[in-house]
Symmetry: C2
Subunit: 255 residues, 2 copies
């Protein structure tokens, strides 16, 4: 099956010829009501045993085809968002890989503390703007340091001490015209969005590897208090692609 | 798609009519060389975010179709194995659900310590035999208690203080004629088998739910030290079934 890409679902199954996975997608889906927030899609890659790695990671677990999926989704998005914890863990890019003549998506970093290694850990694409969203309680000195490399939006601190994602999304739509927001982790940001019903879709690459992990590792799709089985978010499987044992699953969350 | 079961891969895709998933499988695969150990298949159900639940669990995460898959695989197996930790956590059955006129698979429980709540946590099917495999160092009193409900096999303790799974498998094949062994977790037993290259296939049900979890939770497919990315076990995706947003994935480990 080397190199062959099959769309298995919806039927009829067919080979994609000269086309990339998701290239033909229209996102946000046409016809949705006047949005008060961006359409939010998450993109993650997971091992068979549910371990995820960050998108920009050098030692990534997905294939080249998976990397192309990431680029395709980024190229359709107005902004790419990640949590600060992910950025602290590794150096990564939030832009399009290749030299792009088009517009780079806005890079959005969410951080409670404003303690983000922006200078060292973000590879900023040409013509790419970086926006850090933090709280009003973040230390001034950290905010000042961030402003050397990025725009900074400060929102009222929520009762739980963090950034209000709902407010952040509304602001992105209203002020920056972000209609399609791509979220690339980490697990805590994913969890916050899902548990607050702010995520619309999940694009999950299931690599054909087993990674193993001990209890103290923190590398799953979601990190946060367990949902009860009856209240766990359910998802509709919209499409399935297969390439060299790697599965590309598109889920839409049910409301 | 209610109730409809599609086999999506291998192509051509088709609806299964009046047939259960995996019902037509011949296991172990015909034509393998004279075996020194059983053909080992693992069966697990996982949420989209990689959280697994034990097969016998009341509050299970899979659907009725998934439960039928479990029964189909059990009915083909000579023995069903679980780790003692899983049994300590919950009451479960290792037999066929319905009153079966045929033979029940041998129930095999692996335990380092022989501290297993056999009397309270195993629902033993009619005509089902239970075998506990433990170490020579397990306390006599515990072993004696186990013998009231089960046969007990004691193997030399390995250098790491546990049961030698390789020896256990050889014994099952040679002494009990177990050609097909179904393993249903937990994560530590799965990990031991995979990391010792003793597992042949994984049947994974991917339910369309997100469960969430915190760092201290221990509910993934594998628990054990992380494999390096270059040495992580790879798997070939053999078949894909879909029923009501739930995916049934059959993987064969590559050697």
């Amino acid at each position: 099956m080397t190199g062959k890409i099959l769309r298995l679902y919806p039927l009829p199954a067919q080979e994609l010829l000269g086309e990339s996975i998701y290239e033909d997608l229209e996102l946000p889906p046409p016809g949705r009501a006047t949005p008060s927030r961006p359409y939010v899609i998450m993109n993650m890659v997971s091992s068979i045993d549910g371990r995820t790695a960050t998108r920009g990671k050098a030692s990534r677990i997905g294939s080249e085809t998976d990397r192309r999926v990431m680029r395709t989704l980024r190229s359709k998005s107005d902004a790419v968002m990640i949590g600060a914890g992910t950025l602290r863990a590794e150096k990564l890019s939030l832009g399009l890989d290749e030299v792009s003549r088009g517009t780079q998506p806005l890079a959005v970093i969410v951080t409670k503390t404003a303690n983000v290694p922006l200078a060292t850990n973000v590879i900023i694409g040409e013509r790419q703007e970086v926006l850090v969203i933090t709280t009003e309680d973040a230390p001034e000195a950290d905010v000042k340091r961030l402003r050397e490399h990025a725009s900074v939006l400060r929102l009222p601190t929520t009762s739980s001490g963090g950034v209000s994602l709902e407010e952040a999304l509304k602001w992105l739509e209203a002020t920056r015209g972000v209609d399609l927001l791509l979220v690339e982790g980490g697990p805590r940001l994913n969890y916050s969005l899902v548990s607050q019903d702010l995520a619309d879709e999940l694009f999950l690459t299931l690599a054909s590897k087993l990674l193993g992990s001990t209890r103290s590792d923190d590398l799953t799709l979601l990190e946060g208090p367990k949902f009860s089985l009856t209240e766990s978010p359910k998802a509709e499987l919209v499409s399935i692609h297969l390439s060299e044992d790697e599965l590309y699953l598109r889920y839409r969350f049910e409301r």
